[in-house]
């Protein structure tokens, strides 16, 4: 119930949107990732190029029952390599918040989140791994992608990607999702459909 008030708040703040967990100093970011089994929305403000502070909402759905989490979140860019033709990053995630637990018995309890993610990308290739742990739930994700054309700054960039994801306690199995990613300036959209036919829509913007 608490989360129903929290979601509109996130979207009211979503004039500032994002892609990476930490962006440039003073930058706002918003990300919204959505599939039938889960949704994840966050608004983050980068205090500097290493540290971002914000709020995050998760919905985890099992057998049409929702578990919802609201977290105060801290993201840290632990390591970055800026090569001539590539960039690689390692991020840490941490959060504290409240969970509306409804899977087994209805209750509201304090919760926490810890995790890490790493990526490596060029203008043509992309790869990332992400692992998040919420108390008794873990979220694992791996992505691989390629861009058929190296677009200029003023052009729409198109990527073909594949995502493998597992959320224990929710879908219990590996979900494979072929998807397309579109970049234009500070905005990124992703659409896909899993091999089981589940839709996926993601939006990320930096501001």
């Amino acid at each position: 119930m608490i989360m129903k008030k929290f979601i509109p708040l996130i979207f009211l703040m979503s004039f500032n949107l994002s892609a990476h967990p930490v962006i440039y100093k003073g930058g706002w970011s918003l990300s919204s990732s959505n599939m039938p089994d889960y949704s994840n929305n966050y608004v983050m403000y980068s205090l500097n190029q290493r540290l971002a502070l914000g709020v995050e909402h998760w919905r985890l759905t099992k057998n049409e029952i929702n578990n919802e989490l609201g977290l105060l979140k801290l993201n840290h860019l632990l390591w970055r390599a800026n090569g001539e033709d590539y960039q690689s990053n390692v991020y840490l995630h941490g959060g504290l918040g409240i969970e509306d637990q409804e899977f087994e018995t209805k209750s509201t309890r304090g919760t926490w989140l810890l995790g890490a993610e790493a990526d490596w990308e060029t203008r043509k290739l992309y790869s990332s791994v992400k692992y998040l742990q919420f108390q008794d739930v873990y979220f694992g994700q791996m992505r691989l992608g390629f861009a058929p054309k190296e677009a200029s700054f003023e052009e729409l960039q198109t990527w073909f990607m594949i995502q493998a994801m597992i959320i224990n306690n929710v879908n219990q199995k590996l979900t494979i999702t072929p998807m397309m990613r579109f970049f234009y300036h500070n905005s990124l959209w992703e659409i896909g459909s899993s091999t089981q036919g589940d839709w996926m829509i993601n939006l990320m913007v930096h501001y």
Binding site: A19, H20, V22, I23, Y24, K25, G26, G27, N48, Q49, L77, R80, A81, N82, G83, E84, D85, Y86, Q87, E121, T122, R123, E150, A151, S152, F153, Q157, F183, Y184, H185, N186, L188, H206
Partner: protein, 91 residues
Amino acid sequence: MKKLLLLLSLALPLSSFAGAVTIKVSGMVCSMCAQGIQKKFSSENSIRTLKVDMEKKLVIIETHDGKNIGDETITKLITEAGYNVASIERK
């Protein structure tokens, strides 16, 4: 008078390019990276134009007449955007 106007018309475009700076940036692999750099430079009053060449990993800026931007400021802005300066060239 005609000669004076001709001289002025030749001199103005030349002076407007006096502050051109070409910055080679490491790690600028996507438009979102470039947008972050663009955003950081937008707060600088001395900047007249900014262009991004993703292919060559270049950020090309032109300053307003009589204004300049130092290497230290450029490096600070690129670093705060999360990237590294590989080189700075001035024309």
